[in-house]
Amino acid sequence: MWGDWHQLWEIMSTPDNVPIVAMLFLVPFYLWYWHRQAVATDGLITQLEADPALAKTHHRKVFPWKQGWDREVHTWPYLMRVEFLAAIIITVILMIWAITLNAPLEEPANPNLTMNPAKAPWYFLGLQEMLVYFDPWIAGVIMPTIIIVGLMVIPYIDENPLGNGYYTYKQRKFAIWTYLIGYVFLWMVMIAIGTIIRGPGWGWFWPTQTWDHNRLVFEVNRDLHTLFGIHNRLIAGIFGGVVVLLYFVVAGYCVHLICTANSFTRKIYKRMSLFQIVTMNLLLVLMISLPVKIALRLLLRIKYVWVTPWFNV
């Protein structure tokens, strides 16, 4: 049933989902806000690069900036008062939140009757959504580990000092796009899907579609090798391995192309050691594999690419 606004309201108004609903608005807002600042700063950078004399005397790194303004301002009170104001506003918001919305407690757990849909806390919904696309070993163990390791190695890969303390797009294009794809697109969107789209039976329900527990959907997912008529498990395993390997080669090459797309990135690229390059390339290839797999599953109904007795990809 379409046009069920009651259903949409029920999802959106659940106390549990408040952070996600807020996120739907806050993330775009702050992206836009960042972008406005970054464009302005980039303009300033261009201006200063064109006028080295000016750059020597004045380089408050943030926009707006006018001649005659101080190069530096004191933390106290100029920063602290803004932070103090922010602290007050956040306190007000949290208090109102605490007053109006109760903790989403439910009935005592009944092991004979599990809830449907059974959802993880909102910040884990992205991980739960990943389970749709990979086998639990990959989605639940390998991927989260790689994500954490990947986040940890960022400072060791990204040694570019530009962009510290001010907003810029021009100087950090690569990093920003990685963030947009890896975090905003993959992580945030998957959380939103897990919250708003996934209904009973973890089925796909568009907004305003009723979450009907009785809904039946006929879908058959296939493993890639069966599309090629391969049924021998050994051959299928080898086939899948080859395909995955192929993906790594192709995707790695693409990442390499992107890293060396223009003179600026080439400059940074040249500064990196081989180990740094390989690590970064591998991590990016792994990150991209997630949307690739999502596309394969949702568009082509392919369950696994590589089936082995130990794990499936």
Binding site: K66, G68, L85, V92, M95, E106, D212
Partner: protein, 1057 residues
Amino acid sequence: MAENHNDDPILKKSFTLALLISSFLLILTLAWSLYQEMFGLRPWRGYQATFVESYTKYLKKEMPKQKSAEDAIKQSAEYQKLLADATAAGQAADSRVKEIAAERSFVDKRLQVLMDTFTTERGRVTALEYAVETAGSDSARKSRLKDVEEAKNNKTTVELPTQDGKVEKVTMNYDQLLAEFLRLKGRQASLGAEQGTLLNTVRELRQQADVYFKDHLSGLTEDQLRSLLTAAQKLDPSIHQINVGGAGLVDRCQSCHIAMDSKVVPVNLPISKADLGFAENNNAPFASHPNPELLRIHDPEKFGCSPCHGGNGRAINSVEQGHGRYEHWLWPLYYKENVEAGCQSCHAADMVLEQATTLNRGKELFRLKGCVSCHRYEGFDNEGEQLLAARQQVRTLETRKKDLELEIPRITEQGNQATENAIANRLYQKASDLRVTTAKIDAQIEQLDRRAASLMREEKKLGPSLKEAKMKLVKEWIPYWLANTHTFRPTTKMPQFRLKPEEVQAIAAFVWQNALTGPLPPKQNPGNVAHGKELFETRGCMACHAVGEGQNAVGGTFAANLTRVGEKANYDYLVRWVHNPRERTRPYDPIARVDLGPEDYAKFNKPFVFDLENTRSPDDKHEVQVQLPTVMPMLRLSVEDSRDVASYLITLKNPDASYSSADFMDDPKLKDRGRALVKNYGCASCHEISGLEDEGRIGTELTAEGSKPIERLDFALLTEDAKYGKLPHDLSGAGIPKRESWYDQKGFFEAKLSQTNIFDTGKLNPQLKMPQPALDAADREALVTFLLGSVDPQLPQSYVYKPGDTRRDIQEGWWVVSKYNCMGCHNLRVGQLSVLSGLPQYQGDTKDKLPPQLIGEGARVDPAWLQRFLENPALSATDTNRNGVRSYLAVRMPTFSFSDGEIQKLVRFFAAYASQQVPYVPPRLDPLTVAERAMARQLFTHPAAPCLKCHATGVPAHDATAIAPNFLLVHERLKPAWTYRWIIDPARIAPGTAMPSGLFRKEGDHMVFNGPLPASFHGYTKDQADLLVRYMFQLTAEEQRTLMSHSPAPSSKPAGK
């Protein structure tokens, strides 16, 4: 740095306004949170404040009222008189009391003065006496004795006060002192006693006045109200909580429902919303519990509130949460119409529960409408199950026995072949062991068979046996009935199945072809319709059956409405049925699974005879089913009478009715399809059907249906509608109360019972086969109440009502009483009226035409006799066309052919319900002396109350007008203690009885006949009522005959005084 930076926004921009606003907001939120903390999350504070306010007003309003009521009583003549009596008595005693007081004060003073000297002297003397006792030698002893003498003779002078206030000097030795001391002490005591007696009389009179006052004042006194007022005004807002640790129970309901707290509003001050000035539709949660009697049995301090009412006892944040009416609380508060559901969780084993009429009705309907036939429910009618289990065991044992019987000769043969003696002996031994085993199996089978025989008597099917269909029914009527069940008979127990025409044909064909074909009941001549009608209306048929449709229906609803019975039944069969409804065409052998015919009996050279005395199969191996499994009892009508009744019944038809011919019913091709359908729809749950005798129940078990999680109740395509409170169109006329959401157990049950296939709405392939029972809205609500209460109890098992004593007998007895509809004819409970007593033919002065009321039956009759009576209510093996006790009643106590277990349950039930001692030992009555016998005879035939005028004697001419039982039954039937109470004051035991009251009057401590007594009674000091009882218990038939001649001619008028 001191450059021109005046316009630098970071330095210059002012945050004052933003800070001001956000600080202001912060303070506001802080205030808000404090408000939430104090009131928002604690609505009970507000409620309590409102309550105190209105309660104070109420008390203040009541106080002057009570004051004037008090005054009115105090002004009343009786009270004034009582008070005056008390005052007068006080005054009368006053002068003497004063005298006593004066004398006492004098005695006290004198004693006080004397005391000093006396105790000194006594101390001296006793010390010297001690020295004598412990003296070492005789001489020492002597000299010390002398000292004692001296001390005693020592004179002392005491200045004692005298009566006239002066002082006299008295000189006394020790003995004189002692005498004076004892005299004064004695005087003191006697004066005190006298004063006590005097004042006691006064006090008693005062108390009488107080008691009078208390008895006449309704409500509390002004002082009590005032103390309540003070307490209410001091009431601190706090959570009122009941906490029973052992049961895990925490109920805070009284925090808002504060008037339920007996510490705030005492139980004897019931207040309603109106008392407190609230409209009835106001949501103010203030009123006392409407049923204090229930609270007395279920002390709230032990039971709390939520175990009975549902709801979340701990939650006090909001009405919604406290009442548990939200998604995540599994036990929402029961709605008003279902409030008795709460009783069921602990009283599941009670068929009849005082004060729970809706629930009782629900249970009755669950049985009556045949719900229990398809849905198992713990404790309900499980004879069928037990029977199947017993039969299964018998079959298993027989197979084993057969195997062993083959084994024995084989082993014996091996023994014969054995070459060695030892081996042969061992084999022979083994064979003989096996023979012992088979014997044991035989015994086991025998035992199971006996149990099965008893169960077969108890097992009743709700619908008629379809084995008899071909003999009983009009052929063309069957398909019509299947398709139009409720059109033909709107109140029938048979639910309407949703059958396609081809299904109707197939089922009808199966029923027809599957039924027995003979031996046919004998051909009967037509009977007298008018006499039949009279019999039908007077023999008691109408306690269960009604005639007339809709508003015109007259009679009971327990069994079928017979308005159109003439259209469906065959006359010959009907005669047999009326004569004995339990009579089978063929007995059924449950082990062999066949209906036995004459040919089977002929194989064993036995006559084709089967009844309750001949219950063995022709091969004498098993008990067979010899009765039809119907609850309808045998009324012991003669064949002629049965013919008349049947003739009358056959005239009951709609003259315009006609049924299209149904030749397809003989089409053998339809039979298999029909059998599959019959199995699918579970017809064998209610009907006995050849070949399907062992079918089980087809419905889901409902014992704990009320606690089934909502997710397990399939609302199917109506789920969303239910959540948003949208009733499907089909239910719009069902009278279901509109609610915001009906996605809960109550909503499911209501919808399902209103239209059993409602949850197939919109389905391409309907799957729900539950048929539609005939229920009105009240019936439905009763069943919903019953189902809602059918839960796994939340409370510990110790709370569940499982009595182990006589109360258990009561509990079990009700099941039997309700199974056979005893209450159709008899009143068993105070306030319950039998069906018969409501019929038009019993209106007016007809007390003596109705069956006896059985309140206190256990106190009246000897249990051993009751057992015999229930076995055979005619109390005779030959003369059965009559009542055993009340032969003068037209209405007939039928023969129910109870199993022994059922009779035991009934007998114990009556004993327990009348609080009788078990076992009953008949008391020994003193034999009558010759003189006593003569006197008793005179009482018995006294012209003021000639007993035999109304009581039956067994002489037909006399009994034609008798309206009371025969005395010859007294000795074995009645209990002497009850009989004594009965003849003293029958109207108290059975209001409205024709038996006259006031036959005896009390004289001293014994009863005396209330009428002129012959001279022989002079000097007789014993109890005359007791004399009469003893006489009655020793009355012989011969004696009665003799007395008959002395009795006045019987008349139809009851003897009254």
